[in-house]
């Protein structure tokens, strides 16, 4: 068996397609990875997303590979073999699984190495990572066994279609709730303070293994002498699928669970220039200095106003409801620029028209709010997606604010606090005569 397995590893057509799949998986995983931070929870999310995205196509590729005996007219050779028919396909299947497992190792290593360059935080989330490995393997089994059952090229689209149907359940949100909750393709993403739900992932792992066993048993059903054991195996595998799906449905498809507050470690960072203190979860350490500098500047600008603050803290379950200005530190680990995103989000609690709409009768209301937001973020561009009939005038206002000396800027904020809060802006507020 080892010799034939070695032969399959050397000669399988997957040796051409798996490197391409690996590149695609790495692209999906990198795209799903946080740009500035690296956590094992995020790596698990990235791996699951890559596995879920590629699984249907892995099934199709493996179906094509499994049709090799038919494509190469080797049925007579197989038909006169002294080995049981299902065993003849085993080295080919194992070869495919080893190639795919190797591809998984490469992508995990690549994302982990990339993470290590940023500062990888946390410990591996074993169950989601295991599921990200099992998904492509199970779909490989699906492809091989569909080919074994249908014995024609139709197995390629047929096995791919199964995964695409799961796409509809998971990503398009179609179908009954129970089916979506039991779907093995993952929607897992653990926000701050949350981790993978072990019961849910145990369920989907049992379900995935059960599905692979079920496909294998159905594939063997085609061979008459093995029908009885295959049928029994299919029933047992079906029971596994039902048990796993039951666990996932019992959790209502919740892939995450809140971490106990006591287990969360917060770090304190102080901006050396303005002495503002920031409290945040440990994994933000790579961007802590940027955050301290950005919030230090905002703190300095509001220092002479009633909104002055010296401390701002991340709250795990934070939303904007009932939040006082500069009370909560909002952090999005997936932001392209965590510090910039944090200021923009924090200003939602300050600039009233972001919540309540523009002030009545003020012509420059939204333009002024956008100018102030960009300025406080330290940006020389207007917020993305912001449209104004006179962008030249609005950009001039922003430039004027940026050119204010530090002392004048602080005085300007103190003098215009009501407008900042209420968005009651006129162009004259930005230095125009």
């Amino acid at each position: 068996m080892r010799r034939v397995l070695g032969l399959e590893l050397r000669r399988t057509s997957l040796r051409y397609s798996v490197p391409l799949l690996t590149l695609l998986a790495a692209a999906v995983a990198f795209q799903a990875a946080h740009p500035q931070l690296a956590t094992w929870a995020n790596i698990s999310t990235s791996m699951l997303r890559a596995a879920s995205a590629l699984a249907p196509f892995i099934a199709g590729l493996c179906a094509w590979e499994a049709l090799r005996a038919r494509r190469r007219r080797m049925q007579a050779t197989d038909g006169t073999a002294a080995r049981p028919a299902p065993l003849i396909r085993l080295p080919q299947l194992l070869g495919a699984l080893i190639w795919l497992a190797g591809s998984w190792v490469v992508v995990v290593a690549a994302t982990a190495i990339r993470g290590a360059t940023v500062g990888l935080f946390g410990s591996p989330e074993v169950l989601p990572l295991l599921q990200s490995l099992l998904l492509p393997l199970a779909f490989a089994v699906l492809g091989v066994c569909t080919a074994e059952l249908l014995t024609s090229w139709i197995a390629v689209p047929a096995s791919t279609a199964f995964g695409l149907a799961l796409y509809l359940l998971t990503f398009a949100g179609t179908g009954p709730d129970a089916l979506r909750w039991a779907d093995v393709l993952s929607r897992f993403a653990a926000p701050d303070g949350w981790t993978s739900n072990p019961v849910y992932f145990t369920g989907v792992i049992v379900e995935t293994v059960g599905l692979a066993a079920l496909f294998a048993a159905l594939g063997a059903l085609r061979h008459r002498p093995y029908r009885y054991p295959s049928a029994v195996a299919a029933l047992l595998a079906g029971a596994l699928v039902v048990a796993g799906a039951g666990l996932a449905i019992g959790q209502r498809g919740r892939s995450t669970t809140a971490l106990p507050e006591a287990s969360l470690t917060l770090i304190t960072v102080v901006d050396s220039r303005n002495r503002v203190e920031l409290r945040m979860l440990e994994h933000y350490r790579p961007v802590a200095a940027q955050l301290a500098e950005a919030w230090g500047r905002v703190s300095a600008l509001f220092a002479d106003t009633p909104l002055a603050f010296r401390r701002i803290e991340q709250r795990i379950d934070a939303d904007h409801a009932d939040a006082r200005p500069f009370e909560r530190l909002y952090l999005n680990p997936g932001a392209t620029d965590v510090a910039d995103g944090s200021i923009a989000e924090g200003l939602q609690d300050v600039i009233g028209c972001f919540r309540d709409g523009p002030a009545q009768g003020a012509l420059f209301s939204l333009d002024g709010a956008a100018v102030v937001q960009s300025w406080l973020r330290g940006s020389r561009d207007l917020p993305s997606g912001f449209h104004t009939p006179d962008p030249q005038r609005t950009l001039e206002a922003l430039r004027w604010l940026h050119e204010l000396p530090e002392h004048d800027a602080r005085a300007w904020v103190t003098a215009h606090l009501d407008q900042i809060l209420g968005c009651d802006w006129e162009p004259e507020d930005f230095g125009r005569p």
Binding site: V4, R73, T77, D78, G79, T80, P225
Partner: protein
């Protein structure tokens, strides 16, 4: 490679077998009885005469509808376990040899040996000996996709003999070979047929003349003749078509069988 021990009983015996494809009312092989002995047995007939059907029945790829057939002491049909045991003792080269072009000759033969459950430790030696037996040792590491038609047929024979079978079934082994390749192939065949029962099918009379110990002529799914080459030669008539005595014997025997079928 060790040769199989001589077998006392006839390796293959068929008694009034009928083979029908699907729901066809006309059987591909009808009431056919024959015996294969040690040495080279040639199955001769035109295209569609039933040669491949008989071969597929012998290697159990095609079920017989009625009649009795014994292959290497085993009465067909067989349950899966005994059938697999029979397959260990049987080598088969189909008319259209299927292969993976990226496999080397050695890989191809080793894979075939694995299919025949040759013990793992014995596989490299068995493959090397089979490849040497067909004269392909110098191309052992060549990819199958790079071989000529003649070399491919020889690789096919190596694949069929790698597990040292007692019964070797070769369907049209000389098809597609040029004259030089055919001559070399016959020599190879004589080598591998020593102390083994070989069944080859062919529609080329000169192949039969060169290698066969016994000839079985099929016409319309029925047996037109069974005997030695010399016995066949005795049926030649002056008015029969053919360039050689053996060809005239063949056409005379086939014409007689057709006349018999027509009158029936």
């Amino acid at each position: 490679m060790t040769m199989a021990a001589p077998h006392a009983a006839a390796p293959v015996e068929a008694d009034s077998i009928v083979v029908r494809y699907g729901r066809s009312s006309t059987p591909a092989v009808s009431e056919l009885s024959f015996t294969l002995t040690q040495g080279i047995n040639a199955l001769v007939g035109r295209n569609g005469a039933g040669k491949s059907t008989v071969m597929n029945a012998v290697v159990t790829l095609q079920a017989i509808q009625s009649g009795r057939m014994r292959v290497l002491d085993a009465e067909l049909p067989l349950a899966e376990g005994p059938r697999r045991e029979l397959m260990r003792q049987l080598g088969y080269l189909p008319q259209a040899l299927g292969y993976v072009p990226s496999f080397t000759v050695t890989e191809f033969v080793e894979y075939a040996a694995w299919l025949k459950r040759v013990p793992s430790a014995a596989v490299p030696r068995a493959a090397a000996e089979a490849i040497a037996a067909v004269g392909l040792s110098d191309r052992a590491t060549s990819k199958l996709g790079k071989l000529s038609g003649g070399m491919l047929r020889r690789a096919g024979i190596a694949m069929a003999i790698a597990h040292d079978p007692r019964l070797l079934v070769l369907d049209e082994p000389t098809a597609g070979l040029d004259p030089e390749q055919r001559i070399r192939f016959r020599a190879t065949l004589r080598e591998v047929a020593a102390e083994r029962c070989v069944l080859i099918s062919s529609h080329l009379i000169e192949d039969v003349h060169a290698v066969a110990d016994r000839v079985h002529i099929l016409e319309g799914g029925r047996l037109a003749f069974s005997g030695s080459v010399e016995q066949m030669r005795a049926h030649a008539t002056d008015d029969a078509e053919g360039d050689s005595e053996l060809e005239r014997a063949y056409t005379a025997l086939v014409a007689r069988a057709r006349a018999r079928d027509d009158s029936a």
